[in-house]
Symmetry: C2
Subunit: 273 residues, 2 copies
């Protein structure tokens, strides 16, 4: 009985901006009974070019905000924050917090046949080598090639995902990696699944593309079941969206990628938390 309120409490999900909606989409699909409170840090996006200290500070503020919404678990739906802040904030807060990197690394190890794995991400994610470390924990002999793709986030955020220019930027960043022996490629930034079909077409069928969002939702499901805090109320799930800036722009973007009509997005002052 003690867990009843916790069971119906929401999952907190956060990202630097709209990218984490690709993770939210997977949670909606795979855990349709769960309520979600999403926070997009649109006032401070992008995270990928910023320092570890600031990413930890931003993550703490957001977790404090999400806790005011009484969430039962938190998903850091941002690779940069997962790479730089997860380890620290996990120790500081008393609810389950998961990131996207461990699930992504596990999926890549499961899929690869030759142990050669590519990782695309922001500058900060690649520099942290967190994917490499997590992959090697599971497969010590793996070879991991990381490549920062800093223009991918602005291209997606500015609505250029389907534009020809994006194809050229893909070629600039990834021509070397295409010549390598990798058979598995991790989309190590939550914006990148929005470029998935283009990246798949660029590498061809010999390379398996891993989207950590799917794996993360599976991990979350398992944690909720293990801790007996899954929502079994049978009520329709509620989704709430908060941002630190420019709510209208966010709403438009959210509606273009979620299987759900986002009719209200609230802007809050994240520096107050």
């Amino acid at each position: 009985m003690e867990n009843k309120n916790r069971n119906t409490a929401a999952i907190g999900v956060f990202d630097s901006g709209v990218g984490g909606l690709t993770v939210t989409r997977e949670i909606m699909r795979q855990l349709p009974n769960e309520n979600v409170v999403y926070f997009g840090d649109t006032a401070r996006v992008p995270y990928g070019s910023k320092s570890k200290n600031n990413i930890i500070r931003f993550s703490r503020q957001i977790i404090r905000f999400l806790k005011t919404k009484n969430v039962k678990a938190i998903v850091i739906a941002c690779n940069t924050a997962s790479a730089l802040a997860l380890e620290t904030v996990k120790e500081e807060f008393d609810i389950p917090i998961i990131g996207v990197i461990v699930p992504g690394a596990r999926a890549a190890v499961r899929e690869t046949k030759n142990g050669q794995i590519g990782v695309l991400g922001t500058e900060a994610t690649i520099k942290s080598e967190t994917y490499t470390k997590e992959i090697r924990k599971l497969m010590p002999e793996a070879e991991v090639i990381g490549k920062p793709c800093p223009l991918f986030v602005p291209l997606v955020e500015e609505g250029f995902a389907k534009h020809k220019i994006t194809e050229e930027v893909i070629d600039i960043y990834l021509s070397d990696m295409r010549k390598s022996e990798i058979d598995t490629l991790i989309l190590g930034c939550t914006h990148y699944p929005l470029l998935r079909s283009r990246i798949m077409a660029y590498f061809g069928e010999s390379v398996h593309i891993v989207n950590p969002a799917y794996e993360t939702a599976m991990d979350l499901k398992q944690i909720l079941e293990e801790q007996k805090i899954a929502n079994t109320s049978g009520e329709p799930a509620a989704y709430d969206f908060y941002v630190s800036d420019a709510a209208e722009k966010f709403k438009k973007f959210a509606n273009s990628i979620l299987p759900y009509d986002v009719d209200k997005t609230q802007a809050i002052d994240i520096e107050d938390y």
Copy 2:
């Protein structure tokens, strides 16, 4: 005598990131006796997609920080902050504060022969229509065509200014404007002078390109003279650089565009101000 300390005090210059260095460069050239304290808000860059409320808040914090450095005047070397925050902060602080838009508008009005003026800027700058209003104050019959170019800032910040891809993005954004009758074009974002030669080549000789940075330095000079606070000490000028994040990356960029060797850049926590 009362003004002696004020005379040798520095000019405070700020921008969302590295763009304002193009204004700093003009101040160094035209006011070689003036000390400068520069602040780049690299933790919160870019400003162009963010809301007026946040831009005002960011600007207030930065002005409070610059005042701790005892500056005698402030240059908002960012078009977005000039467009959205200058009017408000001018009323709130007791030192001269100038932006880049009024000087840019004045130069455009001086150069145009047919009264058709183009303005390139961030989404926030163009949406504010501040350039249009300032131009029409001086030339009520002017026709002003604004165009937001949101990918220009990340292209410059990621070091793609001289890349072929930038030429294609210029064509995507500006092909309509090239077909128009404009004879004068304002580079209404401090990053854009770094794309100047490409934009000039794209429009050809019939279009005069206005860089508000140059005009802003001239305005500053006039204000310092009028208020009798120009630095006439004859001491070599000192330049100090502060950022809110990732000082090393900033330093590298600064050294690529300033006629001065930036050997030290300090990161501060701007949210403390």
